[in-house]
């Protein structure tokens, strides 16, 4: 078993575009659930809009890459409005049901043959990143040192992703530590109390839904910049992975989602390499390496249960600040 090789590949995920994408989406979910108390179970849908908006903006509408990115974020705003207007007046659980369904509807719309010309249906979209990479100021070649050794193209995605993440984190940190964030946390605690103090609860919830949704779309955007776009990526389990990352770090914190995503991806990559290698070495009771690769998902599920039961506030959260079960 090549433990060093496994550790080396795992370390590569620390700054992978996919980790950055998860961090952005988890940050969006923190705004939704941790601060506003909105149970959004459709984060994958917001991410898909960011990714497809970007890819379709370039391929179908011939926009420059940065405008196409804005199309993706704009689509998330529209989606949040469509979701929120009928559901935000209702109790939280309804939003959870509607968002999970809406995200699946979106994914199936991207899958259907009807819009093949625009969405690529089951094949997805690819070959749209040319212009984005032309804007890459880094000369061709590989940079960095093992395990952080990558091509100029990957570094470019990484730098853009980290820039987006840094700006987003700063903005969210400012927002939640302002009087606006105070109202939002108040709404999480008791909507009626906030209403009785003369605040327009619906507007605040809608603003939170849009901000979190746009952050999710930014996550999808970073994913799309690093590879191709396929509806198979934006399934419901993606939403649950992001929830795991969020709860791991701490739902009502700003830096928790970032660290949670990092730990989630590093652990997931490590286990995804470790178990097949162990199976090949005959250490896993005769499981094939393909079977062993699935064990990590079992671990993710068990970890989610353990976090919620024993440390609902996450790694960064204050025990008093957020109790999952109310």
């Amino acid at each position: 078993m090549d433990i060093l090789g496994i550790l080396n590949s795992t370390a590569g995920f620390v700054l992978a575009p996919v980790t950055i994408a998860y961090a952005l989406a988890a940050l969006g979910l923190a705004v939704h659930f941790g601060f506003a108390g909105l149970l959004n179970m459709g984060m994958a849908g917001f991410m898909a809009l960011g990714a497809y908006g970007y890819a379709m903006g370039i391929l179908s509408f011939g926009l420059p890459w940065y405008l196409a990115a804005l199309v993706g974020l704009g689509a998330a705003v529209v989606f949040a409005l469509i979701l929120g207007i009928p559901t935000l007046r209702l109790r939280g659980d309804y939003l959870a049901i509607v968002t999970i369904a809406a995200a699946e509807i979106l994914r199936l719309l991207f899958l259907t043959k009807t819009f093949d010309e625009y969405t690529g249906s089951a094949d997805g979209l690819f070959g749209y990143n040319g212009e984005f990479q032309e804007a890459n100021p880094i000369a061709d070649g590989t940079y960095g040192f093992p395990p952080f050794e990558d091509t100029a193209a990957t570094w470019w995605v990484r730098i853009v992703g980290l820039l987006i993440l840094a700006i987003a984190t700063f903005a969210v940190w400012r927002l939640v530590n302002s009087p606006w964030g105070r109202v939002l946390k108040g709404i999480r605690e008791d909507e009626d109390a906030i209403r009785s103090l003369g605040k327009n609860v619906f507007t605040y919830k809608m603003q939170a839904l849009i901000i979190g949704g746009v952050l999710g779309a930014m996550g999808g955007l970073v994913l799309a910049m690093s590879s191709n776009v396929n509806q198979g990526q934006y399934v419901t389990s993606l939403t649950f992975f992001i929830w795991t990352a969020l709860l791991l770090g701490g739902a009502a914190t700003v830096f928790g989602p970032l660290v949670g995503s990092l730990i989630f991806w590093v652990l997931q990559a490590f286990l995804g390499l470790l178990f097949p290698a162990m199976a090949e070495a005959g250490l896993l009771l005769g499981l094939t390496s393909i079977q062993a690769a699935q064990i990590k998902y079992i671990i993710v599920g068990v970890a989610l249960v353990l976090i919620v039961v024993f440390r609902p506030q996450g790694i960064f959260g204050n025990k008093k600040e957020l109790t999952f079960v109310r």
């Binding site: 903005a171 400012r174 927002l175 302002s178 009087p179 606006w180 964030g181 105070r182 109202v183 946390k185 108040g186 999480r188 605690e189 008791d190 009626d192 109390a193 906030i194 209403r195 009785s196 103090l197 003369g198 605040k199 327009n200 609860v201 603003q207 008093k320 600040e321 957020l322 109790t323």
Partner: protein
């Protein structure tokens, strides 16, 4: 309720609030809140059916009545938390029909809740600051630039601290509201309501579950509101308190206003004694409100 819950000073009662004989729906000299023909039905149940009622300005009005009389529902209707099936009502001469609750609150009509709504996972200070209206930092875009709201926020903090001192909660300002006792939460909710600079304060059972010593200070606070020029309407079951601080009493039973008047007179009213205070506990409430007629007893 024990007898030691008197306010520390004898309150000065406002008198001469009404025009003509005290009766249900009697006109007031200076009403702040007027409700007409308010009907709220839940399926087949008519929870509230108030023909006409006026709340006098700058006075303390108590709303009493047996459980299920529709007092809290009436509160909800007046503050926009629920909409009636029929009826019109106005505050300071402005109609409140169809006005959402947060806009009612902005007009200066603030309510508290029977089941205290302290925001548990916010600090006591944050609870208080939320009460302040017209904060620049509560707008999404300006919240991103602290320079725009920091000064206002520290002014609000000073104001909140003064109120907390009055309510003896200043030592707790950094604690989560969830760590307060039930009575302290009542105090916090009332203090938070005062942060909005209201003109009419509606308190739903402010004394429920509060110990006698705290009751005394709460009574003083409520009397204080009147001296500061506010109007108070409260629901309460503690007759001792009602008699002591209320200037006017409105009695509800089965959704209707059955009696009105100064506290001492109202409590002598046989209808009130029958419906609420007790003496004929075996009589159906319907006989008191006139909904059913009972055969003459021997």
């Amino acid at each position: 309720m024990s007898g030691n819950a008197n306010p520390s000073t004898t309150p000065v009662k406002s008198t001469g609030l009404h025009i003509g004989e005290p009766a249900p729906g009697v006109a007031k000299k200076d009403p702040i809140l007027v409700a007409d023909g308010i009907v709220r039905q839940f399926g087949g149940l008519t929870a509230v059916n108030v023909d006409h009622v006026e709340i006098p300005r700058n006075a303390i009005t108590a709303l009493i009545g047996p459980n299920g009389a529709g007092k809290t529902t009436f509160f909800n209707l007046l503050t926009g938390f629920d909409q009636p099936n029929e009826g019109t009502w106005s505050f300071n001469g402005k109609s409140l029909n169809g006005v959402p609750s947060f806009k009612v609150a902005r007009m200066g009509l603030i309510r508290t809740f029977q089941l205290t709504k302290a925001l548990g996972l916010l600090t006591v200070m944050d609870n208080m600051k939320l009460g302040n209206t017209g904060q620049r930092g509560e707008k999404l875009l300006s919240s991103l630039i602290p320079a725009l709201w920091k000064k206002q926020d520290s002014e609000i903090e000073v104001k909140a601290m003064e109120l907390l001192k009055r309510f003896k909660l200043d030592a707790k300002h950094e604690d989560f509201a969830a760590s307060l006792s039930g009575g302290q939460r009542k105090l916090l909710e009332m203090a938070r309501a005062l942060m909005t600079d209201p003109t009419l304060v509606m308190l739903d059972e402010p004394m429920a579950g509060v110990n006698p010593a705290l009751t005394q200070s709460l009574l003083d606070h409520i009397l204080d509101l009147k001296t500061q020029g506010m109007t108070v309407l409260f629901v309460e079951h503690d007759m001792h308190m009602v008699r002591h601080i209320a200037d006017w009493v409105i009695v509800m039973a089965e959704g209707k206003v059955v009696a009105e008047g100064a506290p001492d007179e109202v409590m002598k009213n046989p209808a009130v004694i029958d419906a609420y205070l007790g003496s004929h506990q075996d009589v159906d409430l319907g006989a008191v409100t006139g909904r059913i007629s009972l055969p003459e007893s021997k």
